[in-house]
Amino acid sequence: MSHHQWTQEHLAWYINDTLVGEEHARVHQHLNECVLCRQEYAQLKCLSQHVSLEAARPLNSAAAFAELQPHLDQSSSAGTVSGFFSTFRQTPVTMRYVMAAQGAALILLASVLFLPDFDSNAVSGYTTLSSASSNHGDLRLVFDTQATQEQRELLLQSYGLELVGTVSSRGIATVKWSGKKRQEKLESLRAQSAIVLAEPVGDVAE
């Protein structure tokens, strides 16, 4: 960068007396040599004087302070919350995302657990073939897909089994399982070609 350009860049601060040492001397020396920079200096000096001497708007600092005072009290009492947000703002961006994600997860969990409509029994009421949700003492049967409705009913009648609910479209049924010689009955049922699976639900004492 040429002396001329460098001086042009620093003139404003030469005028306001904030250049020191070598920088100040460099501008000073160039001004002695360059007519253009001297003209620029004169214009800037004039502008600087205009700006600094410009009449200030009449101010009422006392009124402004009085207006501020109630807010000072508020800010003292709300220090904890504002302190949290202030700390949050000073946290690095990546950490803020992590904190926000954790917060969102906590809110989601809390909303699931504490929602008034949430019924934990409703979840446990959902049954699958392997679930032990039926009353103890029931027997779960899976009929062969080839077995007709008639064959199923006949089989249940011959073993004296009472249906709990209905037979599902996939041939799954739950029957009451009580009485004597249940183990023998169970083995006999399992031997039937129309039965794919026969399994007591829960612990059934003989």
């Binding site: 306001n16 007396d17 904030t18 700006v51 410009e54 708007r57 800010s75 202030s86």
Partner: protein
Amino acid sequence: MELTDRDRRRPPDEHERRLLDRVVERDRLAFEQLFYAYHPRLQRFVTRMVKHAWLADEIVNDVMLAIWKGAKSFAGNSRVSTWIFGIAYRVSLKRLRRRRLRAIFVHNDIAIEQASHDGGYDLDEQREWLQRGFDQLSARQRAVVELSYYSGYGYAEIGKILGCPENTVKTRMFHARRILKRVLPTLEHETIQRGRQTK
């Protein structure tokens, strides 16, 4: 670091640091002293940046409140005044951005405010052409000119206040000077002519 003439004329920073320490301890009296020391300077700087006196009033109050709440966040690696002017600069820019967005939807807003601003207090000729010259600059350029010519900061300190490199400060000043040079003589001539016609 070498002291400039300007530095020697400035009040020592230690006094303001002590005041700020007391503000951290919630000392109202210390805050009041700081408020009276900075209110006129901030008012002028912010008015120059945002161009509307009523908006500047709001911003200066926000800045002073931020100092009251956040005095303990002053790291001590700059002058207290640099820290305070930095807050004022950032709050002003934020408010200007918000206003610019709102102005897209409310066209008349700015015209009405300008009218109330003009009628709010008397402007002498010098002030008028200077203000109109400054209106041609961006808020960031106005900040650099004001901090240099009125507040008397060096480019390094202005860089700290504005949170930008020193070279950016120099570039902004360079462009601001070019615009002001182009605009001010014309405006000055116009104003004087208008003054003669009204007499």
